[in-house]
């Protein structure tokens, strides 16, 4: 046997056939494992919901500004009369734009204004949201109308509802997937920054229903919600229909009104609750 044949020295220009064959075999086997893994991963990966963020395109919508249950625009999307909730750029609400609108309205009631706003559409199922990407520059036009628009509100009584608190900006399209554990931290940031929390209800893997979470007086609530975000949770309170959205008014001082719900998720586990 040649002296150097059976011994590998990396700084030599080439390896003996035994070694270069070993390298080739190892490389091909790893590559095969890698391809196999990618194929299996793609095959078993959880499907993604059909949500959409119209990134890079700005759309103008015209309608009436509402403040309840959240800052939004009553308008027409796809020939449907809907309320489009409005959020800010990044992980923030769009309330500075609302303040600006009020200043420009000059004491006129919001319900008597027709406003044109420009932003980026976020859509899932028949729900549309809009990011006021340009901040104050999102206000394109304000006109006065005579007919005051009043939102239709209907109480549906006390109910207990189980679902997951999501940040709707990401959930309805900016990120996908935007629920459960991998999205929990981001959802906390968004809700903490003023994006209104939503309780999303799932049935058989599909999202079916949504509730804005407010406090029992119908006021916005953010920080108290954070420990419950991104985990299965069950909450009770008065349910109200406001146009095409639902609202759940939760009494945060009543511990019985809230609980973490692990049915069908992680049965034998309890989370110590220290909100």
């Amino acid at each position: 046997m040649n002296e150097k044949d059976d011994f590998y020295i990396g700084w030599q220009d080439s390896a003996s056939p035994t070694y270069s064959k070993a390298r080739k075999t190892f490389f091909l086997l790893s590559l095969l494992a890698l391809i196999l893994f990618a194929v299996i991963y793609l095959a078993v990966e959880k499907p993604f919901i059909d949500s959409y963020f119209d990134y890079g395109n700005l759309t103008e919508l015209e309608g009436t500004v509402v403040e309840y249950p959240v800052f939004g625009l009553q308008t027409t999307v796809n020939h449907q009369q809907v309320t489009v909730p409005l959020v800010g750029f990044g992980k923030f609400d769009a309330l500075p734009v609302l303040e600006k609108l009020k200043t420009q309205a000059n004491a006129r009631p919001l319900s008597k204004l027709r406003v044109t706003l420009r932003g980026t559409l976020i859509q899932y199922q028949e729900k549309t949201w809009m990011e006021l990407t340009e901040g104050d520059e999102s206000i394109i036009n304000i006109e006065t109308t005579e007919v005051a628009q009043e939102a239709i509100r209907r109480s549906m009584g006390e109910q207990r509802i189980t679902g997951e608190i999501v940040d709707p900006k990401c959930f309805f399209g900016v990120m996908n997937p935007a629920y459960k554990k991998i999205h929990r931290a981001c959802a906390v940031r968004c809700i903490s920054g003023g994006i209104p929390p939503i309780l999303a209800i799932r049935e058989g893997g599909e999202f079916k229903d949504y509730y804005f979470i407010l406090d029992e007086k119908g006021q916005p609530i953010h920080q108290q919600v954070l420990p419950y975000v991104g985990v299965p949770v069950s909450m009770s309170g008065e349910v109200e229909e406001v146009e095409d959205w639902k609202v759940l008014k939760v009494n945060w001082n009543d511990r019985q009104a809230l609980s973490l719900d692990f049915s069908g998720e992680v049965s034998s586990c309890e989370l110590a609750l220290n909100p």
Partner: protein, 345 residues
């Protein structure tokens, strides 16, 4: 170290190796992005991007971790060990892209410093199921940063091979953190027994190879000497092949006894480069040549041939008939010991 080494820092073998890594990364990424475009068109770009780089880093980490025990089990795999550093640094860069992009995606443009947010957005530190898994990835990434920045031989020299090696053993801590990062994060979301099975299989592969390699080396580590012994019997002359060594343990140190040119010499087994096993090396051009990266030492004094300065401890040997005896007390690094002349040569 070897004279021939300096002139060839970037040889064909290294190029072939790095090309292999590049192919690995490209094939996976193309498959992953195209696969998503076809099968999961609703997934957002950021999600695919984050998953692609996290998974690639995780897969490469497995490769990095199986090379060590594979090379100990079968010398042919030394060919993959030689350039493991490039694999490690590539793995770190992929993990860094994944980590930094995750922080940008999930934590920036908000009401808190993004790094603070990694630690404070999910506060369920008291729950296993809800544990903030991103924190685990963050800690793993810090370990990988330390390892990647000290991977150069400059740091090896400054820290000394033993400290350096200890630092780089932290890769196992990083691996444990990453396993938890994946199990408590993505796996929980995906809730797929198949993916869970794959992660488990990876863990079993890595741990069983390490156990197997350790088991194989058990006999080497059985000390020959009692605490008081002066000379101890190491082996028979015939136990050692020509130009090769036998590794024995005396006074808690592994020692390589080489047979070459009808002579015997013993040096400490721990290569001063990265701690490679000199006793698994070979005498090439009259020098002990380390099997890992080819550093060289003269067998009679444990010194690298000039201009290199690495030195290892040497040991005294004596012959009683066909029996090789060793004195357990090491001599200072680089001390000349007259080689034992074998009869009939």
């Amino acid at each position: 170290m070897s004279v021939s080494y300096t002139s060839i820092l970037w040889n064909r073998q290294k190029k072939a190796y790095d090309l292999g890594i590049l192919v690995f990364v490209l094939v996976f990424s193309v498959l992953f992005f195209v696969g998503h475009a076809v099968l999961h068109p609703n997934a957002t770009f950021e999600t695919i991007f984050i998953r692609n780089f996290g998974l690639l880093a995780f897969l490469l980490l497995h490769v990095v971790l199986i090379i060590g025990p594979l090379a100990r089990l079968n010398a042919r795999f030394l060919v993959i060990l030689y350039n493991r550093r490039h694999l490690g640094v590539t793995m770190f860069m992929l993990a860094a892209v994944h980590g930094v992009f995750s922080i940008m995606n999930f934590h920036t443009l908000g009401d808190m410093n993004p790094i603070k947010s990694v630690f404070l957005s999910n506060l369920s530190y008291d729950s296993l199921i809800h544990f903030p898994f991103q924190v685990l990835g963050f800690l793993a990434l810090i370990i990988l940063v330390l390892m990647a920045t000290t991977s150069h031989d400059f740091w090896l020299k400054n820290l000394g091979p033993k400290v350096w090696k200890a630092l780089h053993m932290m890769v196992y801590v990083a691996y444990a953190l990453i396993i938890l990062h994946v199990v408590l994060g993505a796996l929980q979301n995906e809730n797929s027994p198949i993916l869970f099975g794959i992660v488990l299989a990876g863990f079993l592969l890595i741990s069983s190879l390490h156990l197997l390699a350790a088991f194989r080396e058990r006999s080497i580590d059985k000390p020959l000497d009692q605490a008081t012994a002066e000379w101890v019997k190491a082996c028979q002359v015939n136990d050692i092949k020509n130009d090769r060594a036998k590794i024995v343990t005396v006074s808690g140190e592994r020692v390589a006894i080489f047979k070459y040119n009808g002579k015997l010499s013993a040096v400490n087994n721990f290569c001063r480069h990265q701690g490679g096993p000199l006793g698994e090396g070979k005498i090439v051009d009259g020098c002990i040549t380390c099997p890992w990266h080819g550093y060289q030492y003269l067998p009679e004094n444990g010194q690298s041939p000039p201009p290199f300065t690495e030195k290892v401890e040497t040991y005294r040997l004596k012959l009683e008939g066909e029996e090789v005896w060793i004195h357990p007390e090491p001599l200072a690094e680089g001390t000349y010991v007259k080689p034992i002349q074998l009869a009939g040569s």
